[in-house]
């Protein structure tokens, strides 16, 4: 089994030879349960996962398989009960709220199915939000926000409120917001879930561009065609990794673990 994984890593190395293969994410026996007064629901039952820097990964699984929980743990939005999690070489165990906020702000960019833009802020103000928490000067924030809006092709919409933008445009604003802090990793939960196929295509193109720049992208999806546009798909079932699959643009490489 180990040998097979070894093959997959070296293959990945061949595919992304421009990117160094160091561990961006390392999960060891991650467990997570939700407890109510009466029941305990085990969602993650011991996840072992490594994602290298510069990878483009999709997480799939039926509902209740734990894929969103896994993404939340990866994004430090939720803590885990046991196991070890290293992000960019640092342990993420028992972080204080402040440390968590710091790592989220510096290392991670988020994408959401419903975009989560603030309705009373204009596009550029939304994009600038993470920099506010880095205490970046207001003018500097605005300048950078416009720069990133230009990158996603929405500079002309900078002064518009989210309600004046289409779904695809809103998601692009959200991606610009995720990128503005120059994160090491982008985590997105069903980023195309609310979009039509054409717009989904554009958004995936954008994620591809981001990944081409060397940023690690991990997204949760339940759509096969979206997953196929990533370079690696992790399949979750009942809180465990059931499959880990490599994609290549021409020939698909499947390795079942």
């Amino acid at each position: 089994m180990k040998a097979k994984i070894g093959v997959s890593w070296s293959l990945l190395h061949l595919i992304n030879r421009n990117h160094p293969i160091d561990k961006m994410i390392s999960l060891k026996k991650i467990r997570k349960a939700y407890r109510t007064d009466f029941t305990t629901l085990e969602v993650l039952k011991g996840i072992d996962l490594e994602i290298a820097s510069g990878e483009f990964v999709s997480i799939m699984g039926s509902s209740g398989s734990g894929k969103s929980t896994l993404l939340n743990v990866l994004g430090l939005l939720d803590d885990f009960d046991s196991g070890a999690y290293h992000l960019n070489g640092e342990s993420m165990k028992n972080l204080s709220a402040k440390e968590g906020a710091h790592f989220r702000n510096r290392l991670i960019g988020f994408g959401f199915q419903s975009f989560n833009l603030l309705s009373f802020k204009t596009a550029d103000e939304n994009v600038a939000l993470p920099l506010y928490y880095q205490r970046v000067d207001r003018n500097e924030r605005q300048k950078k926000a416009r720069e990133y809006l230009e990158r996603v092709g929405l500079l002309d919409w900078a002064d518009h409120l989210p309600t004046q933008l289409s779904g695809g445009q809103q998601q692009r604003v959200a991606i610009a917001r995720a990128l503005i802090t120059q994160p090491k990793i982008i985590l997105a939960d069903e980023p195309t879930g609310a979009l039509d196929s054409k717009t989904s295509d554009e958004v995936m193109g954008l994620f591809q561009d981001v990944n081409d720049e060397g940023i690690t992208v991990v997204l949760v999806t339940h759509e096969n065609d979206i997953a196929e546009r990533t370079k690696r798909t992790i399949l979750l079932k009942d809180g465990l990794i059931e499959g880990d699959q490599m994609h290549m643009s021409t020939a698909k490489l499947s390795i079942n673990v």
């Binding site: 939340n72 994004g75 939005l77 939720d78 709220a97 402040k98 906020a101 710091h102 989220r104 702000n105 510096r106 988020f110 959401f112 419903s114 989560n116 603030l118 009373f120 802020k121 939000l129 993470p130 506010y132 928490y133 880095q134 205490r135 970046v136 000067d137 207001r138 917001r177 802090t181």
Partner: protein, 420 residues
Amino acid sequence: MNRLPLFDRDTWQEIFGTIRKHKLRTGLTALGVFWGIFMLIFVLGMGEGLKNGVFRNFGDRAMNVLYVWPTATTVPFEGFRPGRYPRFTLDDVDFVHNNISDIESISPRRTLSERNVVVGDNTESTEIRGEYEDMIRLEALKVYEGRYINERDVADKRKVAVIGERTRELLFGDDTGIGQYVRIDGMPFQVVGSFGPVKIESWTEDDMEAIVIPLTTMQQVFGGGQRIDYFVCSAAPDVRVSLLENKVVKALKERHNIAPDDPRGVASDNLEEEFGSIQNLFGGITAFLWFVGIGTLMAGIVGVGNIMLIVVKERTREIGLRKAMGATPVSIISMILIESIFITSISGYLGLLCSTLLVGGLDAIMVAQGTNFENFHHPEVDLSVGIGALVLLVVAGAVAGLIPALQASRVNPVHALKDE
């Protein structure tokens, strides 16, 4: 680059954004605090007016003035039998003035009652008072027209008279009478002014009718030697008049050979005790007004806290997002706290302003219209009360926002972001 969130335009943009979105709700919340602080300051201002009204009835003399007069002794002492009346003279006044410290000013008085007073065809019968120039201050009377007797009048034994307002009216009608002559028991005195009480009460009738002349002139014109009826003195600032009273009485008893343990012989009176009990009463009333006012204010503050809880609930998703974007708990707490303090401070400040204007306006109208209520005078808001109220507001705003802010800081971004 590192600034307090208070000085960041974004923080204020957030607050104004929320307020704009919920104008009515914010307005009603603000009204609660506005009304609370308005009532607090208003009732305190009115309480102050009541207090000023009651204390005005005492007049200025009430606080630190002492009356001393002779009465019959009751204890035999050094060969003197009881029942003797000591006789007070100007020498006693000089003695007290020169030998007892802590006396601010002193004036003797001798009264001649029911004297014939004639101006032209008008004849009146009235009381004549022989005094020193300080008496008007000690008794807290006021000059209506012209002037009171002065030091030179006393020293030169001038034949001048200051007449009570009602007597002036009877003798001179519409004329001030100043410069004219009034005959007292046939002796002409030049009128230099008219006087009367600050406020007309049943017990100030005499002050409306009496005629005041220098005591020195009285002694020369009407005889009676150095004798006086009584004297009035005031204690120096920060000296309790009851302590002065003890010293004066003791000295005079010694001087007139009266037994130190004789409860009579030298009688004296001051209003310190009554003044003190009324002061206590008003202390109690003020405390009660604070209690009621703060109670009203508390209701407003609970309202703000309640609304902030709803605000936090409504903005759960936004707060979750902010946390995902790297907001620390402290930055979330300060965001909610600043908003709460802002709403309470602005609305409270407006309440403070309105009530101060109302109390001040009421006072101005009363002054302009010459309104004179029995027990109400010059309502006012103390500066310290205003500052206290402002400090209270900021603290209140913080308290009102604290629970909602803590709740906001505990928002789990995962649940918040799921919240569709």
